[in-house]
């Protein structure tokens, strides 16, 4: 009976790892339940780090689980005297230093990825001069929708030719894109799973997110910071288009939204 318990604990890492592996391969019935395909040039590092940590923790998970089961395996219950050991400094130092080393390595290893995604806004060269890529869309989150403001033909925000699209935003493929995100009421969070982009939006604060999508398609934007009763509704579509398609779309939408005469078709 006692060995049954030992096996029960051994099942945890075995079944756990199996389930994760199953999900990674997306076999039935777990199809589509792992990381969605990454389409962001800056997001690759995040996936890489995720997988790296998954490997490291996976090995530790199986290792410790196996040791746990093993420690209990020989037990027969009361017939044997336990070892009288109070500790072993060498061992303890070893199992403090090895994880420490791994963690220090991870800390340093991920610094660049963090900077790339959150600190260093992409740069473009205009007229031989380097400058930060200006935001191409101003995203205003409100309860419970996303409003996307385009600067219009003059390329500047807060002018009369700005126009707004609700619930859908288009961006060109293979170009660094910067969004300026703002909130008009409470906290929201701008999350595009496929782009590995997420940033809380704080009212009274202007922030930027950036990405470079490398695959055309429709991706969903979700809000991931509780913003009230309709939090779950707060979605929008981000459509990545080939550059020429994007140009056409932009032109058409500009014409439609700044329409000077009737056009009601959606």
């Amino acid at each position: 009976m006692n060995r049954v318990w030992s096996l029960l604990f051994l099942l945890v890492p075995i079944l756990g790892t199996l389930l994760i592996v199953w999900a990674i391969f997306g076999a039935w019935p777990l199809a589509g339940l792992w990381l969605p395909e990454n389409v962001n040039e800056y997001g690759g590092v995040i996936d890489h780090l995720f997988n790296l940590i998954l490997w490291i923790t996976g090995v530790i998970f199986i290792g410790t689980g196996a040791i746990l089961a093993l420690t209990m395996w020989p037990a027969k219950g009361g017939s044997r005297r336990a070892a009288y050991v109070h500790g072993n400094h060498t061992l303890e130092i070893i199992w403090a230093v090895i994880p420490a080393g791994i963690l220090v390595f991870l800390s340093i290893y991920q610094l660049n990825a963090w900077a790339e995604n959150k600190m260093d806004r992409p740069v473009e060269v205009v007229d031989g001069e380097e400058r930060l890529v200006p935001p191409s869309v101003r995203v205003v989150a409100r309860q419970f929708d996303w409003d996307f403001f385009y600067p219009g033909p003059d390329g500047k925000f807060d002018t009369v030719d700005d126009f707004m699209v609700t619930g859908e935003v288009h961006v060109p493929k293979n170009q660094p894109v910067v969004f300026q995100i703002e909130s008009s009421d409470v906290l929201h969070s701008f999350f595009v799973p496929s782009l590995r982009v997420k940033q809380d939006i704080v009212p009274g604060m202007k922030q930027f997110v950036w990405f470079e999508a490398n695959k055309a398609g429709r991706y969903e934007i979700a809000c991931t910071e509780l913003c009230g009763w309709g939090h779950y509704k707060m979605g929008a579509v981000l459509e990545v288009q080939e550059e020429e398609d994007y140009a056409v779309w932009l032109q058409e939408t500009t014409a439609k939204c700044l329409a000077i005469s009737q056009s009601f078709e959606e």
Partner: protein
């Protein structure tokens, strides 16, 4: 230990016991209003009368789980205002997720605000400002048709796709077009059902013994539907031939509404081309905007409600038609809490002042495109004190006003202070 079994049983019974299917609510506010207004202080509708209306509505329009529409011709969107397919996928309990086929869309997306009867009093509604729309009055604010004309199919579709900015109505753009159309049809269905109920009540209030035939039997409805279908197939011009006799409720009350909805698209307001002087960059643009500003203060009289600084602080003590419908009709003072509460208890929303739009915020409910603003000024906003510009303003005037209003939020004094982002540093 021996109680565990019975405890388990009780729990299972609790879990398994099913709630009765939801039903449409009676328009109790309207009943009360008519009793006080038309019938006089002491009188009431006879129970049988209300029951008649109820059974007629059920026979004609079905239940929330099994909706129906009078004169529905199968699979023919040309002659049907709403289609059976759309009604089925919009109504009923949420089940889309289990068999892939969309079902219960209204209850998945709409019911907690607009209520099962489309009366705008779902559980969430009490907390929202503005209140969710009560479809039963048949009034819609943001549309391309003039006052007292139903919106077009495209208008409702637009509202569902874009939502209504600065209200709790979200955008449903991510739903497939088919589902949006289903919901639009269901909104029409609820509207016509609600209007029919109101109309029947007022007919009864004025004449306790009307010469209308209340048909209650479902078989008759089915027979009528078949007759209509046959008529359509035989190439009859009139999609809704009178079938129930000369004094039939459906012919007298329902079909005229259906006709209005069909004809709405013909009375859409024409929006003329914006004068070229108002296009950005034109040298005379400022002059034209100054004209808009002048109109704002003078002929347009916008200043009266929207205030001198356009903050929406001109007048702030008016109500919308949904409140006025019973409050003003019966002459109830907003301070009379007891009488107000009586109506609130019957399902009315607690009266709340309608605050004119703060034009410096730059979000417009009916859409922010110039053409949307044009329509708001031209046609007014149905159900609110915002009047139609009608004759006092020419189209050029309206376009100048639109442009003046559109540049208000861009003024530097309209903008709140914003903390500068931390990641706007110079490139390394």
């Amino acid at each position: 230990m021996r109680y565990t079994g019975s405890l388990l049983l009780t729990l299972i019974v609790c879990v398994a016991g099913c709630t009765p299917p939801p039903e449409f609510r009676q328009n109790a506010v309207e009943v009360k209003k008519l009793e006080l207004q038309t019938l006089g202080e002491e009188e009431q509708f006879a129970a049988g009368q209300l029951e008649d209306i109820g059974s007629f509505l059920t026979a004609a329009f079905g239940t929330p789980d099994e909706p129906d529409f009078p004169g529905l011709v199968e699979d023919d969107p040309e002659v049907n205002l709403v289609t059976q397919e759309h009604l089925v996928s919009a109504a009923g309990p949420v089940a889309s997720l289990e068999d892939g086929e969309a079902q219960g869309l209204y209850r998945e997306h709409c019911v907690h605000c607009h209520g099962i009867s489309g009366d705008g009093s779902g559980p969430t509604s009490a907390f929202l400002n503005p209140y969710p729309r009560d479809f039963r009055l048949g009034k819609f604010k943001y549309k391309s048709t003039p006052l007292n004309v139903p919106p077009t199919q495209e208008d409702l579709r637009r509202i569902l796709k874009n939502g209504i900015p600065n209200t709790a109505m979200p955008s449903f753009r991510r739903l497939p077009d088919e589902e949006i159309d289903a919901l639009v049809d269901y909104v029409k269905y609820l509207t016509i059902r609600g209007r029919t109920e109101r109309d029947l009540l007022s007919i009864l209030a004025e004449d306790p013994d009307p010469a209308l035939d209340f048909i209650a039997s479902e078989e008759q409805f089915e027979a009528a539907d078949e007759a209509i279908e046959a008529a359509v197939e035989s190439g009859d011009e009139e999609p809704y031939p009178p079938l129930f006799g000369p004094n039939d409720v459906v012919d007298e009350v329902v079909f005229p509404q259906v006709d209005q909805w069909f004809e709405a698209v013909d009375s859409m307001t024409e929006v003329p081309q914006r004068p070229v002087e108002l296009s950005p960059g034109h040298p005379d643009r400022d002059m034209w905007i100054a004209r808009g500003k002048d109109l704002f203060f003078s002929t347009g009289a916008c200043v009266q409600c929207h205030g001198k600084l356009a903050l929406g602080d001109g007048q702030v003590d008016d109500y919308d038609d949904w409140t006025k419908d019973w409050m003003k009709t019966l002459g109830i003072d907003p301070a009379e809490t007891e009488r107000i509460n009586e109506f609130v208890g019957l399902g009315a929303m607690p009266p709340r002042n309608l605050i004119p739009r703060n034009l410096r915020l730059g979000n417009y409910r009916g859409g922010s495109r110039p053409v949307d603003l044009y329509l708001r000024i031209k046609n007014g906003i149905e159900g609110t004190p915002m009047p139609a510009a009608a004759v006092s303003l020419t189209s050029d005037d309206i376009w100048s006003l639109v442009e003046y209003v559109r540049q208000l939020p861009n003024e530097s004094l309209s903008q709140p202070a914003v903390q500068q982002p931390v990641n706007e540093r110079a490139p390394r």
